[in-house]
């Protein structure tokens, strides 16, 4: 595929000047523009699952994960809308763990207890729809309820749900006896280490991005507890 071309000198000078000027103006214009990161817009209301399904053109798994990346770009969204989004994305691909992982590990770990509870309740409701696949997020939710919210009753409720509904083989024994685990006198760091360690052992945790994220979270937790003198 070759094209015969004349030398550059055959092009009129005003065309070359126009090309150079156009390129320079374009670059200058775009360089002055905000990249959008500085002022993140408000999270819009979640679409219906039917609308998302239509927009996916049959690629529901890909769109569900891309929608999660899009959701991540909103720093501190309205939690009512956020939960709606997470629910719709999970309906789009019910076998994806991404919405539950984000709810339990990112959105529930906020300093605001009311928002944290909203995210945890979302995890609990969705766990009940598919316990054998969604138990890791509720296990973490139980630990958050105990250590962050200091709500032992809520933690026991989640732990009892795990005990009652999880039946699949390959689930670590502690998850099926979560209530004992919650009641044990472990600090948050030790509990988190045991949870992540057993997830690794059971093969439930093998994604490089998730490993990187959890390692970072453990380090943050260590630093925070060290600062608090525990």
């Amino acid at each position: 595929m070759t094209i015969d071309v004349r030398p550059v000198s055959a092009v009129p000078r005003w065309v070359l000047a126009l090309l150079a000027l156009g390129l320079a103006t374009q670059v200058a214009w775009q360089a002055r523009r905000d990249n959008g990161a500085a002022a993140a817009p408000e999270l819009p209301p979640a679409p219906t699952v039917e609308a998302l399904r239509l927009a996916s053109f049959g690629e529901r798994e890909a769109l569900a994960r891309l929608a999660m990346l899009h959701l991540q770009s909103y720093g501190t969204p309205d939690y009512g809308r956020l939960i709606d989004w997470l629910e719709v994305i999970l309906k789009l691909d019910p076998r994806s763990q991404y919405p539950l992982f984000s709810a339990a590990r990112v959105y529930a770990e906020t300093g605001d207890p009311a928002r944290s509870r909203m995210a945890l309740e979302f995890v609990y409701r969705q766990f009940l729809l598919d316990p054998n696949r969604r138990w890791p997020s509720l296990a973490h939710a139980a630990l958050l309820a105990k250590h962050r919210l200091k709500d032992l009753q809520l933690a026991r409720r989640y732990a009892q749900a795990l005990q009652r509904h999880v039946s699949a083989s390959g689930v670590p024994p502690w998850a099926k006896q979560m209530e004992i685990f919650v009641l044990e006198d472990l600090n948050e760091l030790d509990a988190a280490r045991i949870l992540i360690g057993s997830l690794l052992q059971s093969g439930s945790l093998n994604d490089p991005a998730e490993l990187r994220f959890l390692k970072q979270r453990l380090e943050e937790l260590e630093r925070r507890l060290a600062k608090e003198g525990r």
Binding site: A62, S96, F101, V106, D207, F213
Partner: protein, 257 residues
């Protein structure tokens, strides 16, 4: 034997035309862009990064394969018509059916090669069996798109209308399931207008391929389909490609050149 050789020559010439027209380079560029995109998203994902990469690549490469086949078929067919190459071919001792089907076979072969090119890199992210099923389905899907593009190029004989019609049919095929679900959900009330709209959508669905049920990313991410589901998916593709080929043959036989 007398027919087989000219048909093989015609098929080969179409594949050769695609190769010389830069189709392999476009396919390789699509592979490279997809890999770059996958590398980027794996850096921003918090979990399921490998599943995200596989899903994104499968979706992008499926779209690329279909787009490349549709444009190649449309451009090649219309160039042949406009250069009077088709009239020259008609002077050969080959029936119109043989000529049309040989063309379709040549374009379907291009689609199959593209399916192989896009399926092979997915072996990094998914099990070989799942990739094989996905790749075969993509090859059949590309064959269907080739049949649609050939049909529209032959009947409409203009590049933009032919490509638009092919894209419209394909996108409608991929979204008709979602449209039917929306119609069923939103037109739940028993009024005549709502029922009419629901029946209209259902009637349109009867003459469209169900493309959201084929070449599924879920096969790569979760588990391969059951034998019956896979056979139904491939069967529906072959059936619709045959329908388009029959429509194209009907039009081609009636035409005065």
């Amino acid at each position: 034997m007398l027919v087989a050789r000219p048909v093989a020559v015609l098929v080969r010439s179409l594949v050769l035309e695609a190769r010389r027209g830069g189709l392999p380079w476009l396919a390789l560029a699509a592979v490279a862009v997809g890999l770059g995109l996958a590398a980027f998203v794996s850096q921003v994902a918090l979990t399921e990064s490998r599943a995200l990469q596989a899903a994104l690549l499968a979706a992008v490469w499926r779209g690329c394969a279909v787009f490349l086949v549709a444009t190649q078929v449309t451009a090649s067919t219309l160039r042949e018509i406009q250069d009077k190459g088709l009239e020259l071919m008609m002077s050969l001792p080959l029936s119109r059916s043989t000529q049309y089907l040989a063309r379709l076979a040549g374009f379907a072969a291009c689609g199959a090669v593209l399916a192989i090119v896009f399926a092979l890199p997915l072996l990094v992210w998914a099990r070989p069996g799942a990739v094989l099923l996905w790749g075969v389905s993509l090859a059949c899907e590309a064959g269907l798109v080739a049949a649609a593009a050939l049909f529209f190029a032959m009947t409409l004989q203009q590049f933009v209308p032919a490509l638009t019609a092919t894209a419209g049919l394909y996108l409608l095929g991929r979204s008709i399931g979602a449209i039917q679900a929306m119609a069923a959900a939103n037109f739940g009330d028993p009024s005549f207008a709502s029922r009419l709209a629901e029946y209209t959508v259902d009637a349109i669905a009867l003459v469209l391929p169900r493309l959201e049920a084929v070449t599924r990313t879920a096969w790569l991410l979760y588990e391969p389909p059951s034998v019956s589901a896979y056979a139904a998916a491939i069967g529906s593709l072959v059936l619709y490609a045959l329908l388009l080929a029959a429509g194209g043959l009907f039009d081609f036989h009636r035409r005065n050149l």
